[in-house]
C-alpha cells in the first residue's frame, strides 16, 4: 500500500507499470485518474489545490487501509497532488489489485468516493479575467458515501 501527497506531477503510465509489477497473482488491476478539466462556464486558467499537511496523509492512509480490509486487496495506491495545476494536468490517481474484478472495481470506487469527501483537499478555480471560486462540495458526492 502506498500513499503519496505531492506537489510534483506523476506519470500515469510509469505509476501503473510500477503498481502492476509489485503485485503477485492478482487477476484484476483497476486505475482511476483525475484530470483538471475546464470550469463549467469555461475559461479555467488554473486549479489550486489546498490541503491540510499531516491530516491529509492520515486520512488517505485510513481510507486505503479500510479498503484493503473490506476487499482483501493485493495492493492499493493513492497519489494526490496539491498546489497550482493547469487544465489537462493530472490531479490524482488510485490503483487497486485483487483476485477478481468486482473487488478491484468496488475498492477503487470506494477510495474515490471517500477521498472526494473525507480527505482534506479544497479546490479553487482560477478563471481568466482573474476571478477565483472555491469549488463547492456536491450533494451527489456526499450521497455516494451512503452505498458503502
Amino acid at each position: 500500500m502506498r500513499i503519496s501527497v505531492q506537489e510534483a506531477p506523476f506519470e500515469l503510465g510509469a505509476e501503473s507499470d510500477a503498481f502492476a509489477a509489485g503485485v503477485n497473482n492478482a487477476g484484476a488491476l483497476v486505475t482511476f485518474t483525475g484530470v483538471v478539466r475546464d470550469a463549467d462556464q469555461g475559461g479555467l486558467q488554473a486549479m489550486e489545490i489546498e490541503h491540510y499537511p499531516g491530516m491529509t496523509e492520515k486520512a488517505l492512509t485510513a481510507i486505503a487501509e479500510e479498503a484493503m480490509s473490506r476487499w482483501s486487496l493485493a495492493d492499493a495506491l493513492v497519489i494526490h497532488r496539491h498546489g497550482r495545476l493547469a487544465p489537462g494536468e493530472r490531479i490524482m490517481m488510485v490503483a487497486t489489485a485483487a483476485r477478481h474484478r468486482k473487488d478491484a472495481f468496488e475498492a477503487a470506487e470506494y477510495l474515490m468516493d471517500y477521498l472526494k469527501s473525507r480527505a482534506p483537499f479544497w479546490k479553487k478555480e482560477i478563471l481568466s479575467g482573474g476571478s477565483a471560486d472555491w469549488v463547492a462540495a456536491k450533494d451527489t458526492d456526499e450521497d455516494a458515501l451512503k452505498r458503502w
Binding site: 489545490i49 491540510y52 490524482m92 469527501s117 482534506p120 483537499f121 479544497w122 472555491w134 463547492a136
Partner: protein, 81 residues
C-alpha cells in the same frame, strides 16, 4: 491550542493558523468565542452547516469536547479527487 483555517475560512479570517487561549468546553463553545471577536470571524462562522471541524487531525463534530485537544481545524466540506 492551535486553531487552523483552510480554504475560504482561511481567506475570510485572513490567517492560516493562530494560537488561542481558551477554556471552551466544546467546539461549539470555541466557535462562540471566536465569533464574538471580530466581524471577520463572525462572517467565517456564520453558517456552521457549511463548515467541518477536525480535532487533532481527525474529523469531528461541533458538539465534541475539547478536553486534551491540541489542534482544532475549521474548513468547508472537502473537495478532493
Amino acid at each position: 491550542m492551535d486553531v487552523l483555517y483552510f480554504a475560504w475560512v482561511r481567506e475570510r479570517i485572513g490567517l492560516p493558523r493562530e494560537r488561542v487561549e481558551t477554556t471552551a468546553a466544546t467546539v461549539a463553545d470555541l466557535v462562540e468565542e471566536l465569533r464574538a471577536r471580530e466581524d471577520r470571524y463572525a462572517a467565517a462562522f456564520a453558517d456552521l452547516s457549511a463548515l467541518r471541524v477536525a480535532l487533532d487531525q481527525e474529523l469531528s463534530e461541533f458538539d465534541a469536547p475539547l478536553d486534551g485537544v491540541r489542534e482544532v481545524a475549521f474548513f468547508p466540506p472537502m473537495t478532493g479527487g
